[in-house]
């Protein structure tokens, strides 16, 4: 039990001040100290029988509060137990962190810009390193983790096949279903084939694959690299005259550059197949006419568009994942944070790149499609 009373310029504490009382005690002490005329406020501790670390913290906090509110808090008549506890737990002797001045608006704005520029620089260096080591790696295997390419190709690509196939089928199926309802009204049901073939090849195939890759592999890459940074594995590699980018990242770049376009093709084919099912069941279009319609509408350049996109998406996913992984701060907790951030950022950049590429291909071909 704690009793707080005041008399003249003194606040008297009686009983015990521990974890259980700390919260109320602090509020009470502050309000009483504030109501006294000051500037000196004496706290009489003679009747205090017991105090623990929380109690000491309350007194420390009160002194600090006094400093900010023009009150000098004087602790008086401390019994021995209290003095010992104070020595053990007090934060007064330890230097408190000096407050960094947050600065004015323009200072902070400028500082923010510098930080953004620093991040951009780091990212550009990463791209340069990755590009350089990927090229060099084609001719010289030194410095690249042995047997890792196959490993990564399986991990990144092959294992993603079932889920990408399933989702592509469903997307093709749904798209066809939605458009069929409209097209049928005009007696133009066969154009479902055109619609789905074009949109799967140019847009949906690369995009579905990229989003699945971002979720599966982008996060895995970020987590792996972040863990390596946190456990000093990247430092160790460096100390063995190896470059983490080259040793760890290059095999992943090769693996994703091969598997992503392949999976994109598979995604497109399965998506069109999904549409075919709708065409057959719901619109009564035969498999063969559907197939022929697809062949007449798809040009080589549609396929190239899709593949170029998928390759660029692949690099975005690897590089964004690596960037977040390598920039991890703050131990294992940071790993989770950068992993999530990597997924969100890579999906964002993939979609942004998709829009930009869409525009480039659109205008690049003289508006003819």
């Amino acid at each position: 039990m704690l009793r707080i009373t005041d008399q003249d310029q003194r606040i008297i504490l009686e009983g015990e001040m521990g974890m259980a009382q700390a919260r109320e005690a602090l509020a009470e002490l502050k309000s009483r100290a504030a109501s006294l005329p000051g500037p000196e406020v004496e706290i009489d501790l003679a009747q205090l029988r017991r105090i623990d670390s929380a109690g000491v913290a309350v007194l420390n906090e009160l002194i600090e509060w006094g400093r900010l509110n023009n009150r000098t808090i004087l602790l008086q008549h401390s019994p021995d137990q209290l003095r010992e506890a104070f020595k053990l737990f007090s934060t007064e002797a330890a230097s408190t962190d000096t407050q960094v001045d947050a600065g004015g608006f323009f200072y902070r704005l400028g500082n923010g810009m510098v930080n953004v520029w620093e991040s951009v620089k780091v990212f550009l260096y990463l791209i340069a390193d990755a590009a350089y080591f990927s090229m060099v790696g084609l001719f010289n295997r030194r410095g690249i983790r042995k047997g890792e390419f196959i490993n990564q190709a399986v991990l990144i690509g092959v294992n993603a096949l079932p889920i990408i196939a399933l989702i592509s089928f469903l997307i093709g199926f749904i798209l066809a279903l939605q458009s069929a309802a409209q097209l049928r009204q005009f007696g133009a049901a066969i154009y479902v084939a055109d619609l789905i073939a074009i949109s799967m090849t140019r847009e949906m195939g690369p995009l579905i694959t990229a989003i699945m890759f971002a979720g599966r592999s982008g996060s895995a890459i970020a987590a792996e690299l972040a863990t390596m940074v946190v456990t000093e594995e990247t430092d160790a590699l460096r100390s063995m005259a190896l470059h983490p980018t080259r040793y760890v990242l290059v095999p992943k770049i090769y693996a994703i550059s091969i598997t992503m376009p392949l999976l994109t093709i598979i995604s497109v084919v399965i998506g069109i197949f999904g549409a075919m099912v709708i065409g057959f069941v719901y619109l009564g279009i035969g498999i063969k006419p559907f197939y022929q319609e697809v062949l007449t509408v798809l040009f080589f350049r549609d396929i190239v568009t899709g593949l170029v996109k998928s390759l660029i998406f692949a690099w975005i996913i690897v590089l964004v994942g690596a960037y977040y992984g390598l920039s991890v701060k703050g131990g294992s907790e940071g790993v989770g944070r950068v992993t999530t951030a990597a997924v969100v950022a890579s999906i964002f950049w993939v979609i942004l790149a998709d829009s930009i590429l869409g525009l480039i291909f659109y205008f690049g071909q003289g508006l003819e499609y």
């Binding site: 430092d235 160790a236 590699l237 063995m240």
Partner: protein
């Protein structure tokens, strides 16, 4: 006196805003075991990481094998690093591959040795650190002390003329610590390996140190032989040896 193998001159180091090392200067000589000691958090690991250029100093110079490293270009420094072994405080084994594969990394990457020879070398080094049976295990399946020893095996796999160790005996029992110290002494005597070793363990310091450098809050408090250190009259150092 033997030639200098590590020479640090007026090194200042900082993480972002807080400076950790203040004008640190010292020299480690060829064939010596130079021990860096000091309280936890005083900047020993930071110093070691600067010696292998994981961080660039704010100011000052660092010479390894008589060559200035802070301004050296990358390929040149890579070549130099192959003559340096590093044991990190946490071991820093790659977690996704086995102990034997970890130890083989420098051999696979920097030599043309055939696989049989690499395997034999790996087994030899594992025997040195008394880990004969751990070859196939993953780092996560080892105890802390075993991981440390595996990492030591990796750091000496290329028989580097210069070895940096960050607390090699942390997490080891006294008997293992002694065994490790004798191993380090053998490496020094038989291979002429020079070493810079961070450690807190007083009995270990007494066994291996040719020279001691005492760091205190990022400042060199003492630099000299072990005997001089014990009788230098500096209170912090005397306490360190008495309490340790």
């Amino acid at each position: 006196m033997a030639p200098a193998i590590v020479k640090v001159n007026q090194l200042c180091a900082a993480y972002e805003n807080d400076q950790v090392l203040h004008n640190v200067s010292f020299t480690a000589y060829e064939g010596d075991i130079t021990v860096i000691l000091g309280a936890s958090g005083c900047g020993k690991t930071t110093l070691l990481k600067h010696l292998i250029r994981l961080y660039l100093p704010r100011s000052g110079t660092i010479e390894l094998f008589g060559e200035e490293i802070t301004s050296m270009d990358e390929p040149e420094f890579d070549a130099l690093l192959r003559r340096v072994g590093v044991l990190f405080q946490g071991g820093a084994l790659l977690n996704s591959i086995s102990v034997a594969e970890n130890i083989a990394i420098p051999l696979e990457q920097h030599t043309d040795l055939p696989p049989e020879v690499i395997e034999r070398l790996v087994r030899g080094k594992l025997r040195l650190v008394e880990l004969d049976n751990a070859q196939k295990k993953l780092p996560a399946e080892l105890s802390g002390g075993m991981r440390k020893r595996a990492a030591l095996a990796r750091s000496i796999i290329l028989d580097p003329p210069l070895l940096f160790c960050d607390e090699p005996s942390a997490g080891l029992d006294p008997i293992m610590t002694a065994a490790l110290d004798y191993l380090l002494l053998r490496l020094r005597d038989e291979l002429g390996m020079s070493m810079v070793i961070v450690t807190h363990v007083v009995p270990s310091i007494e066994r291996i140190a040719d020279r001691c450098i005492f760091l205190d809050e990022g400042v060199v408090l003492f630099d000299g032989t072990l005997k001089e250190a014990k009788s230098c009259g500096e209170e912090k150092i005397e306490r360190f040896f008495k309490e340790g």
